[in-house]
Structure formats: C-alpha cells, structure tokens
Symmetry: C2
Subunit: 430 residues, 2 copies
C-alpha cells in the first residue's frame, strides 16, 4: 500500500484533533483512500507547552524547517494560526513541492489569492475547508458540487461564541455582559473576546466565503464589520414582538452594481432556516440560480470538528497525489467592485427614546420623508419617561439612513437613538 507522510505546524486545539483523528481512524482512512496516511513530524513553538493529545517525543520539533524541508513529507498541515510566520511557512511548503491543508482564516482572508496562485502554478493542493464553519463542508461544495450555479447570496452564522451569547440573551433575557461572562465560564469565549464579539473572526470567514461564491477576490479589509456588544435586552424584546430573532450575520450579496460584504447584528424572520441555529452551532445559507436555497449546519468550532475538515483536506491532497491530479487553484477570475457600506441596500429597525408629547411621530416621520426613506411600520410604546418609538423601514440605502440619523440626533422630538439594527427580510417590499 502507498504511504503518504504528513508534517504539521502547530499542535494546539485544532492540531491535537488532527493528530487524534489520523491515529484513531488510520485503518478506515487507509481503506477509503487506498493509502496509509501517517503523521511524521510536528513543529511546535516550545516542547514545554501543554499538549492536548499524546504525541511521541521523537515526532516533535521546535524547528518548522524540519517539517518544511523534509523531502519525505508530502503534505503540510498548517494549524498555528495568525498571518506571520504562517504565511512564510505555507509559501515555503508550496515552493518545496508540498501540498498544504490549513485551518487559517486570518491567512486565507488576507493572502489567499497569492498563495493559491503559487499552489496552482505548481499543480499543488492548497485546501482550507477548516477556515470557515469548522467541521461543516462548505468551501468544497461551493467550488465543486455547486459550480454550475450563479450564487446570489451567502448568509452565515459563522461565529459560535457570538451565537451562544445571542442565544442566551434571546432565550433567558440576559444582558450582553451576563451572557458573555457565561460564555467565558464555559470556555466558549476567550478572556479577550474582542475578535469574536466585534465580528472580526466572522469577517475573515466571510471574505473567504464571498471570494469562492462570487469568484471575486474579497480581502478581510473589504468587509464592513459591526459587533454585538451594544445590543440590549430591549432590542431582543422588540425583535421578538416583530417576529424576528437577532443573529450576528455574515452577509455576502451579488448586486447589480457590485458585491456587498458585511458582518453585523441582523434581525431575521423567525421562520428563516438560520433563525433556529442555536448556541455554538454554525450554519451557512446559500442561494443559487439553479439549486435555490441550501443550508449547511454543524459545529463551527472545537478541536475534533475543525480537525475533521483538516483531515478531509489531507485526504483530498492524498487522493490528488495518488491520481496524479492537481489542485483547483484560485477561482477568483472575476473583477467586480465591492460596494461601499453607504451604498448597501437593506431594511432598518430603529428604537428611539422620545418625549411623551403630541407631534413626535409626525416630526420623526418628516425627517425620513425628507431623505426619501420609506417607512414600513412605526409603533409608539409606553408613556412618560418610558416613551419609545419602534420603527422599521422598507429597503433603503444605508447612506440615506445615516443622513436621517444625523438629522434626528438634533431633533427635539428625539431624546436618544437607542438602537439601529439592520433587518434581513424582503417580504412585502415593493
């Protein structure tokens, strides 16, 4: 039987899972692929770091070169994370003729194009299924099984930490801070939760998804990002009254005048398939011109789920070696503009604290009318100090909403603009 040797860089959460699966399911994988896939060498930062999995001492090294320069190693697994030195390591592996499987979203959302072109020029596989949605197979299906489709949109719940927090806020009425603390206690959120909570993690994943779905290179910096830390129980409450649930949604849309890519808290109708994705689960919703609506659902994080995707990519590389095939390379052949956030078209929910007196509603409605913003519904809640107005617009340009808000801030009819949340719901739009 053929033997294929794997070298790995990094042995943290995901890396340990890769070691575990390759060992545990070695015979099964050999039967499925027709070759024995064996881990040969693992480069770690320090021998002293704790390991989550048992690794024979002689397999470990503190020098990445011992993986990258080893002529016996066919496939390099990069699971160290971060941009540098991961980028240099992946580049070196490819230059040395090795196929690469990486779980690195930061790397692929910033240097994906150049690395894929390098891989392609050598006929090598550079696979990165684990970089989005953990164990959920989504990138390969988009590139392969769905390749006959013109994709119009991709909507994703791709960050488990924020989805856990929002589920707790929604189902138990917790505040953001309380839910965050709970997530931290359970190990779902880091001590410094900024990358998750402010949406940067989801933005990197969205850049990768959009690049593949639309065949246009989208860079992490192209993605408009707004986090969930300002959401309040009142927002959750009014969302429910209106038939919505709030999710941190990663949205990529192909529109007439360009591509819209954004991550922000979003109100979704209760009966949308993504609305019932709870806790740390992830899901990606895809609309194609032939296939219609699809959803892929599963565990977006965790050692073994992410490692499942890495091992799938290792098997893909192994089969490519065995069949003397070649990797797919970069599929970003198209060039379409990425829309400025101000040009984005969507609906908005707004919550205003208002003085309890006649004419408030008329005054607010006047501002919207003046900027050509069409209002779908407006409801006044409470009286006295508690008086609030909940307003939902039709689909409008973000720029026009910003102009309205600037004008409303100075209006005596508005004490405070408490919330502005985008709404993903085109029902009843004319």
């Amino acid at each position: 039987m053929n033997r294929i040797l794997v070298g790995q860089i990094g042995c943290g959460t995901v890396g340990s899972g890769v070691v575990e699966i390759l060992a545990r399911n070695r015979r099964l994988i050999a039967s499925r692929t027709g070759c024995d896939i064996e881990m040969k060498r693992i480069a770690v930062r320090s021998f002293a770091d704790p390991r989550y999995v048992e690794v024979p001492e002689e397999m470990l090294t503190e020098r990445a070169e011992e993986v990258l320069e080893d002529p016996d190693i066919d496939i390099v697994v990069e699971v160290m994370g971060g941009v540098e030195p991961a980028r240099s390591f992946v580049e070196r592996a490819l230059l040395n003729g090795k196929h690469v499987a990486t779980a690195n979203k930061a790397l692929m959302s910033t240097h994906g194009g150049e690395l894929l072109e390098l891989a392609d020029s050598r006929g090598l596989v550079l696979a990165f299924e684990a970089s989005v949605g953990g164990g959920i197979p989504i990138l390969h299906p988009l590139k392969e099984g769905l390749a006959g489709n013109r994709v119009s949109q991709v909507l994703g719940i791709v960050n488990g930490t924020t989805n856990y927090i929002l589920t707790r806020m929604s189902e138990e009425g917790l505040s953001f801070q309380e839910a965050l603390r709970q997530a931290q206690e359970l190990g779902y959120a880091e001590a410094d939760p900024a990358a998750d909570v402010e949406g940067k993690d989801a933005a990197a994943k969205l850049a990768i998804l959009a690049s593949i779905a639309f065949n246009v290179r989208v860079h992490l910096d192209d993605v408009f990002t707004e986090g969930i830390s300002r959401l309040t129980p009142a927002d959750i409450h009014f969302a429910r009254e209106l038939g919505y649930v709030i999710k941190l949604l990663a949205i990529a849309k192909q529109e007439e005048d360009g591509i819209s890519v954004r991550v922000h808290p979003t109100m979704l109708p209760y009966d949308h398939p993504l609305a019932s994705v709870r806790d740390v689960f992830n899901a990606v919703f895809v609309s194609g011109d032939a296939v219609g609506d699809l959803m892929f659902y599963g565990r977006g994080a965790g050692s073994l789920p992410a490692a499942s995707a890495v091992v799938g990519d290792v098997i893909y590389a192994a089969r490519t070696i065995l069949t003397r095939g070649r990797g797919l390379g970069c599929t970003c052949f198209d060039h379409r503009p990425i829309k400025d956030m101000g040009e984005t078209l969507t609906r908005y929910y707004m919550l205003f604290d208002v003085p309890d007196r006649p004419g408030v509603l008329a005054s607010i409605a006047g501002v919207f009318a003046g900027h050509g913003v069409s209002i779908k519904s407006v409801i006044q809640h409470g009286t006295g100090q508690e008086a609030r107005i909940v307003l939902i617009t039709h689909t409008v340009r973000e720029e026009d909403i910003r102009a309205c808000l600037a004008e409303l801030e100075g209006l005596p009819a508005v004490n405070r603009v408490s919330s502005v949340i985008r709404v993903e719901d085109s029902r009843g739009d004319d």
Copy 2:
C-alpha cells in the same frame, strides 16, 4: 480553451434543467473549470414528447447509440430513470470510455456496486449526486470532506412529497387523503403516488446514503420500508402533545452487531434540527465521530435543483479529464451484516382503543412486562367509547414489540391497536 462535449439520455424534468443550466451559465462554468462544456446530443424516447426547454432539433435523436457510440462525447448524462435500459446504457457508456453523471436512484441502489467497479477499472468518473436529496450536495461531502470520520448514523428527510403531506397534516390538521389530494393538485405528488407514499423512493436514496457512509454495499431490497398512508390526525395530535413531530425518516445506523437501514414514519423531538424541515424541503442529518452532528438542507426535487447536482457532477468529470485524474470508484470495501428489522433497537409510540373499565392499564402493562419491554410513559385519555391509551416504550427490540402486539390483539383489555409509530429519541434512556 479546451472543449468538452456532453451527451445526454433523457430530456424530462431533470434533463431539461441540465440543458438549461449548461446553456445559461456556460461562460461562468467555462471560467470556473477552464474548459467549454457543451451539450452535443440528446437521446429522447420520442421526438413527439413535449419538451420543457428549447432544444435545437439537430441536437435530438431517438437512438441512444448516437450518444453512447459518438467518439467525440466525453461525458454522458443519464437522466431517463428506471433500471433498464438505463443500466445497459450506463454500462455501454463506461465500456466506451465515457465518464457518466446520473440522477438515477433506482439504478444506483440496485446496480451501483457493479457499475462503480466497472468505472473504477477504467479510471472513469461515475457520479450520482442528484440521486439523493436533489440539489443538496451530500454524497460528495460524505465521500470526500467527511472521509476522516467514522459515521455512526445518517437520518434523512429525502422525499419531498411525503414531507409536504406530513407538513399539511401537522399544521392544518388535514387527513392523509386530503393532504395527498392537495399535493397532487400542486404537482408535488404523482397521479399514482405509491412510490413516494409507501417509502420506496426514500428507501432507494437511503441504500445509496448508507453504502457511502458506512462503506458497505446496501441494496434497495435490504431497506425495511413502511409508508405514511396509515397515519391519522390523532397520531399527529398525540405526537405534538408528547413534544414530537412525525416525519417519514430514512434511518441508517451503524450498530455493534450490524447496520440498520429503514424508512418509516418516525416521531422526532421538536427541537431536533430535522423537525423544522417543512413542505417539500429535504435534509440529511449526519453524525460522525470527529465532526459531531451536521445537517444539509435544501430542495430535494424539481428540475433545476436536481439538475444543479447533475451539472456539478459533469463539472467534476470535466475537471478529472482536464487534470488527467481518475474517478473515486466504489468505496464499499467493508462487509458488515445488515440487521433484520426484528433485531432493530428503537422506541415505540402506541395508541390503543380500550374499554372504559378498571384494570385495563394493568392488563396491558402486564403484557409488556412479560416480554421484557420497558415502558417509559403510559397515559389514558377520554372515557366511554373514546377511551384510549397512549404508551411510549424505552429503547427495545422490534421483535419484542411484535410479540407484545400479537398478544395484545387477543386481549379483552384492548379493542384495537390504532397505531404503532417508532420514536427517534434516546433522551432519558438508561
């Protein structure tokens, strides 16, 4: 640019969709694959049959040989359905060195093994993504991205017609006959609905899913099949009271002593991801030892969704040609027994019409105890002519349930066993 020519056999619902997508997205597909994929010839039963898509007259032929023997044709699409002559045609195409994409579940669930071995012996692609779950990418992800996993179970809602009927029964309280009539009026059910309603369509899909997930050849005839025509509004009602929804579930489980494959009406807990799959939508739920639980959701039928999967397979074959790779071949290398239905372990819901007098409950419970069947809950509803007992068991062997039922039929304490429905819910089992 390379050119790859496609020949097609059949031009009904799915076939028209393939023609449409290849024409509509021709440039996009060419950019994605690096080759121009062109439909050359389509064999139809009769020129006189109605076409759902415009096809140039010179493209059509009534002789399948003009597709199968044409040396210029690289890939054959088989979308005629049924076992013969589809089997002979696919065999001929492979013998003539052509890659094949088929949507044919009847064929693949009965002759999949031999055809895949033939394809493998020639290094050809025989792809059949469209045979299960319409447009949902599920077979390729199972064979590829999830290949590092030991799969323990696959649960599928893989027949849109029955899911539509059950949704109407569940949400509107319709009887089976009323819901069937509605499905027929909407074109979701055939004039002769037997294949859908009796579960044969789902059984063929399950045989294919199980073969791939467990690497064991499962034949259509191995699948235990029970349809939905005997379900009543009372079953739906009591299911809801108990926190369940009823679905026609295709179930494949890897158990210690063999593989269990069965299609039958099943009670699923309300919060199971499959429970919210409504109307004609399909979904496949997969549990793997590394990835955990996954769900794939989308349109399981219809011209364009199914054609999306066929075109994905055509693109897969085209890329294999371009990279001089080879098809995956048959992955059923393992030999494990397929369990007899009597040996199956699951839970059961039962509804009995009973005489309204003391001792009925004790008498029924005695029968179950005598066969070692552990009861989870038993509730008596109504009085007089309307007296009923609703009973749920713990996980037990089907054989023991059959023995209980045989004994209960002759018992004075039971007027009638109205329903027996299996329950997919291991919560609270010891």
